[in-house]
């Protein structure tokens, strides 16, 4: 067997021997198993991943019958980001009719619930018009983004400044006050978009600012589901591990700091989320096989315990996908195939 062409986590090309490939797969899986205290991949699963990387073709896919649903974050923004000058309804139609999208998401360029709230009446008519001319389910999405609630961007003292001064209690109080405001903003904006006909609400990059950010998303989900029992809420995470920025926050008696995907999904379920999106971050210093084995190990554990549909995040820099604005399709397609085939997934 000759050398295998693959890549590092940053996308640069890497040549590996078969022995090194299998060693990286094993190391990646073991890393996830140790951190998450979950089972590593079995020998046959590692061999399946090995076969995927050894295959010389530039593009791989799942076998017919194993296809899953695709949902999107920052949906319409991705068309503007590449400089294609169409409006958002046209962007939705491009995804629906040209890119084979199963669902799509309308969003604002300032992709957080706080900035969206004051302009929500400008967002509603766009969605209302889009819903008349499209067919696929449309989410409205934004990020919780708790960081926007502390100074200088928001009203509360900055925990990042308080903590180095030893003001731990004050920092925790700031996080707690921010949570209440973020919950109110999410509920307000999501309610308005649901009233305008949205098929679902996406809470994207949940937990980016740590455990308080995650708590706000859970509490907002709970409130929205109480208000609209039929509302579909997708909760996508920011990372594989909930950072303990506050460190003592709990939900339903469980400490949020330090939770991994198989624990995060149980919180999302308890809050009433319809779909959960686990995220595993890519390490640019390690190989693509190491990253993918690690991703599959975490995601498999999450899918096995989940009672709600799981849509793994497979965008740039997560899910074994390389950190580069133009991820190579050899890695993206291998990651797509591997995670669907080995984990019990419902979508990406």
């Amino acid at each position: 067997m000759g050398n295998i062409l693959t890549r590092y986590g940053d996308g640069t090309v890497l040549e590996m021997s078969e022995e090194a490939l299998m060693e990286d797969l094993q190391r990646g899986s073991q890393d996830a198993a140790e951190r998450g205290q979950i089972d590593p991949l079995t020998q046959s699963e590692l061999e399946h991943l090995g076969d995927i990387f050894k295959c010389p073709f530039r593009f791989l896919s799942v076998e017919p019958g194993n296809e899953v649903i695709l949902t999107y974050d920052a949906g319409t923004l991705k068309i503007r980001r590449v400089g294609v000058n169409v409006d958002r309804i046209q962007a939705l139609q491009i995804y629906e009719k040209i890119m084979g999208a199963d669902t799509m998401e309308l969003n604002h360029v300032d992709y957080s619930y706080k900035p969206v709230k004051p302009i929500i009446t400008m967002e509603q008519p766009i969605l209302e018009q889009a819903l008349l001319v499209t067919h696929i389910p449309l989410f409205y999405g934004a990020q919780p983004n708790l960081g926007l609630y502390s100074q200088p961007d928001g009203p509360f003292p900055n925990p990042g400044e308080l903590m180095p001064m030893g003001k731990i209690k004050e920092a925790q109080q700031s996080y707690e006050a921010s949570v209440a405001h973020l919950v109110a903003d999410i509920v307000s904006a999501a309610s308005a978009m649901y009233a305008s006909g949205a098929d679902g609400i996406n809470l994207d990059t949940t937990g980016a600012a740590g455990d308080a950010d995650f708590l706000a998303a859970l509490l907002a989900t709970e409130k929205l589901k109480t208000k609209y029992p039929d509302m579909c809420i997708q909760m996508g995470m920011a990372g594989e591990f909930v950072l303990g920025m506050h460190s003592e926050l709990t939900y339903k008696g469980e400490r949020l700091a330090g939770m991994y995907p198989h624990q995060q999904v149980k919180m999302a379920e308890a809050a009433g989320a319809t779909i959960f999106g686990p995220v595993i971050n890519t390490n640019t210093n390690e190989s693509a096989p190491w990253n993918l084995a690690r991703t599959v190990t975490y995601t498999k554990a999450c899918g096995e315990v989940a009672k709600i549909p799981i849509h793994a995040n497979m965008g740039m820099g997560v899910g074994g996908v390389t950190v580069n604005d133009h991820p190579p399709m050899d890695i993206v397609s291998r990651s797509s195939k591997a995670i669907v085939e080995i984990c019990r997934l419902d979508g990406l």
Partner: protein, 111 residues
């Protein structure tokens, strides 16, 4: 992040259901409305459309099924249901609530 060719198009080809080319939007709707996991959602849609699960991603079969049932098709023909019209039919055939369909009914004289 990541350009649409690398992300959306690659995933759609590697593991997606093809959206309206197949029954991806319909399976998604059932998953969203009923919280069904993928195998259950596919089986539910296949039964409602009277096709097999493997037909759901076949663009030739699903093109005909969608046209016959007026569920919206990729290349709209004169007279076929489009947009909200098709979603009325989707809600009825799949026996699910579609938020914008209910809203349309409430806001017009048909409600």
């Amino acid at each position: 992040m990541g350009d649409p060719f690398a992300m959306a198009i690659t995933h759609a080809h590697a593991s997606g259901m093809g959206g309206m080319r197949g029954a991806g939007d319909l399976v998604a709707r059932v998953q969203m409305a009923r919280g069904m996991r993928i195998e259950q959602a596919k089986a539910y849609v296949a039964e409602k459309l009277k096709v097999t699960v493997s037909d759901l991603t076949d663009p030739v079969i699903m093109g005909e099924v969608r046209q016959d049932l007026n569920l919206g098709i990729m290349s709209p023909q004169p007279g076929c249901a489009k947009g909200i019209e098709a979603k009325f039919n989707i809600a009825q055939i799949l026996d699910i609530n579609i938020n914008c369909v209910n809203r349309f009914e409430r806001r017009t004289t048909i409600g």
